[in-house]
């Protein structure tokens, strides 16, 4: 897949193959942290950063495991690197922005188990992206994740002020909203590079 331009990869990852709304990756934080705009955007930024780090490391690691013929260790090494990257972000945030650290709460360490992050690493390996393509892909995936999170948070803030029947309250309503957003994002189909 050496012939796809980085622009196409970026567009595809942000819009037509949006990680959350088209590929179902990273739904836990998407449903969990999208209550308020105030926490949604920083969460997106933190996840994007971890994605970039993970993508960089995964590129290097992949070269190593292929070089030494240890492909069965690929998954294990990826997840260990992601866990360390998350730890790093956690320490930096705790030091420089304790308020934000508290607001993100349990969802910050849970970035480790955010499938979007591991997804970036796995997809770039499966599609044999070059170095530049990998980084662009990670940036696009992060931007797409943040976009979905912010859109959802905006919608849910509106919903706080409106009257909703009891029976759909909670996750059911969030899922319906996500479905509609996903339907809207299907309009981008064909934009950028496909699967």
């Amino acid at each position: 897949m050496g012939d796809i331009s980085v622009g196409q990869i970026f567009l595809a990852a942000v819009l037509s193959n949006n990680f959350v709304l088209a590929m179902f990756l990273g739904l836990c934080p998407f449903l969990g942290v999208s209550g308020q705009l105030k926490t949604a955007a920083p969460m997106g930024a933190a996840t994007t950063f971890v994605m970039l780090v993970a993508s960089l490391c995964a590129y290097g690691l992949n070269w190593l495991v292929v070089h030494f013929d240890l492909e069965f260790l690929r998954l294990i090494s990826y997840i260990v690197v992601i866990a360390s990257a998350v730890q790093l972000v956690e320490m930096v945030l705790k030091k420089y922005s304790p308020a934000l650290f508290r607001a993100l709460g349990i969802y910050l360490p849970l970035i480790t188990t955010n499938c979007a992050v591991l997804g970036v690493a796995l997809f770039q390996t499966a599609r044999e992206y070059s170095f530049a393509q990998s980084i662009t892909f990670a940036a696009g995936a992060g931007a797409g994740f943040t976009l979905a999170l912010v859109l959802m948070a905006g919608l849910r803030e509106r919903l706080h002020l409106s009257k909703v029947p009891n029976v759909v309250q909670g996750t059911a309503l969030s899922l319906m909203l996500a479905g509609m957003l996903s339907l809207a994002f299907m309009g981008f189909a064909g934009l950028g590079a496909g699967e």
């Binding site: 088209a22 179902f24 990756l25 866990a83 849970l110 909670g170 479905g179």
Partner: protein, 217 residues
Amino acid sequence: MAIPGQKQLTHMEEFMEGIWKQNPVFVMVLGMCPVLAVSVSAVNALSMGVATTFVLVCSTLLVSLIRKVVPKEVRIATYIVIIATFVTIVDYLIQAISLKLYDALGAFIQLIVVNCIILGRAEAHASKNPPLRTVVNAMGMGLGFTIGLFALGSVREILGAGKLFGVSLFGPDFQPWVVMVLPPGGFFVLGTWLLLFNWLKQRKPAAAQPVEAHVHG
């Protein structure tokens, strides 16, 4: 959980926890990514459920066995490495059994590693309970997860393709509701299931009691 003063659950109750009271899909809403992504057909959904159950049972068993040896500070890292090992095994197994299935499930087999249910069970249950109890609980959780996946996968396959397990249900005149097998359909169907459960819960608060008693008996 073995908290003093609290009544110990019997093994049967422990097993039913995951299927009914704490169903990972419908009650806890955990591990949604694979649920929505692979539930386009009943076969995919079932195989994903079985694969996840395997990893869940094996890794919680191991976590429970070593729970007194692992220092508290590095426990999460240890759990993740254990889970990743079993996922690698499953990954190679599915590749050996059916290449077609492997292609259909794609990256989501490897993504079992980050399924919140597994790490959640390892941390919340396996690290505090003896092996037998843990395995029983994990099996219940795995079965509950599989049932949830199947509930979603079958509905989406019936509505979106007019088939169940690849067998045509409505004859050639059926106009498939294609959006159901596309991403938005996943959100809508799961949302509708949750809505249905909410509605049942609100409608019959009194009737819910006997049902549970029956299940646990």
